[in-house]
């Protein structure tokens, strides 16, 4: 019984932490292309953006099936840095106001 509790607490804490960050007016968007490998896109989301493997894989699938996905959010300067690093890795990344 007690073993499941810490996991539940951690999830609740991480959701609270995300919802309290209000100053996130820009997003980085990654667009689908016919060349990039699904495995590589997942790897880049982990390495460049620091996402967990599960989140990286979910975002990769969203790009693949919906044509695009918002992969990070923050200040304009932070998003230009993410776009720069994602483009340097060969992904088709842009930024826009959220």
């Amino acid at each position: 019984m007690t073993t499941a509790t810490p996991t539940i607490e951690r999830v609740e804490q991480s959701e609270t932490a995300e919802s309290t960050q209000t100053d996130r007016p820009w997003v980085t968007v990654v667009w689908n292309d016919p060349v990039n490998l699904m495995s590589y896109v997942t790897w880049v989301f982990q390495k460049i953006l620091g996402h967990s493997k599960a989140k990286a894989n979910r975002l990769m699938m969203q790009v693949h099936t919906e044509g695009k996905a918002a992969v990070s959010s923050g200040s304009r300067e932070q998003m230009e840095r993410d776009v720069s690093r994602l483009q340097a890795s060969g992904l088709w990344a842009t930024l826009q106001r959220d």
């Binding site: 060349v35 790897w43 483009q87 890795s89």
Partner: protein, 184 residues
């Protein structure tokens, strides 16, 4: 090429494969230098790989679809911000890509000189290698106007169609990259 799991992952590569990668890396480097700084570069008509990757249009906003894919606009709906990006952000992306190409070129040049060799793709080589393989595939794929269903497109080509060589190189690069990602 054989990719071996481990820390770091290892790439067993022979002189012919190293030579192909070196040629593609040089084509890519020329594409970046000329495409952004406006220095037109002649492609060698005798070199089929040169025909795959070049020529490109010079100018601030490139008309070349390959340049536009390798160094895309960062803003889609804001012309002024897009122009600012092309002046500042794009050159930063280009310099990171050029640095990665130099690193790969240096790795494969050693192999081309000495026959079959094992390359260790440790921390600061892995990312640049995967990025350069991606750019090679993007350049060839954009020239071929490739789709996700490219295998059936390639199978429909006549035996003497010059694009068969490009598809074959594209396929080889794709398998190589996938193999490296799997052990990364």
């Amino acid at each position: 090429v054989r990719v071996r799991r481990g820390r770091p992952p290892r790439l067993e590569i022979d002189a012919a494969e190293a030579g192909l990668l070196a040629t593609l890396a040089r084509e890519l480097a020329e594409l970046f230098d000329g495409g952004v700084e406006g220095v037109a570069d002649e492609t060698d008509p005798q070199d089929p790989l040169s025909a795959l990757l070049g020529p490109f249009d010079s100018g601030e906003e490139s008309l070349d679809p390959v340049i536009r894919r390798l160094l895309p606009d960062a803003y889609r709906d804001d012309a002024e911000a897009a122009a600012d990006w092309r002046r500042l952000g794009r050159s930063e992306v280009r310099s990171v890509k050029s640095e990665a190409i130099r690193l790969v070129l240096s790795d494969v040049s050693d192999v081309a000189a000495g026959g079959a060799v094992t390359l260790r793709l440790d921390g600061d080589h892995l990312g640049p290698w995967l990025a350069v393989l991606t750019d090679m595939r993007l350049a060839i794929g954009t020239r071929l106007d490739i789709t996700e269903d490219w295998v059936s497109d390639a199978l429909r080509l006549a035996d003497d169609d010059p694009r068969r060589a490009a598809y074959s190189v594209y396929d080889w690069l794709s398998v190589l990259q996938e193999s490296i990602v799997r052990v990364a």
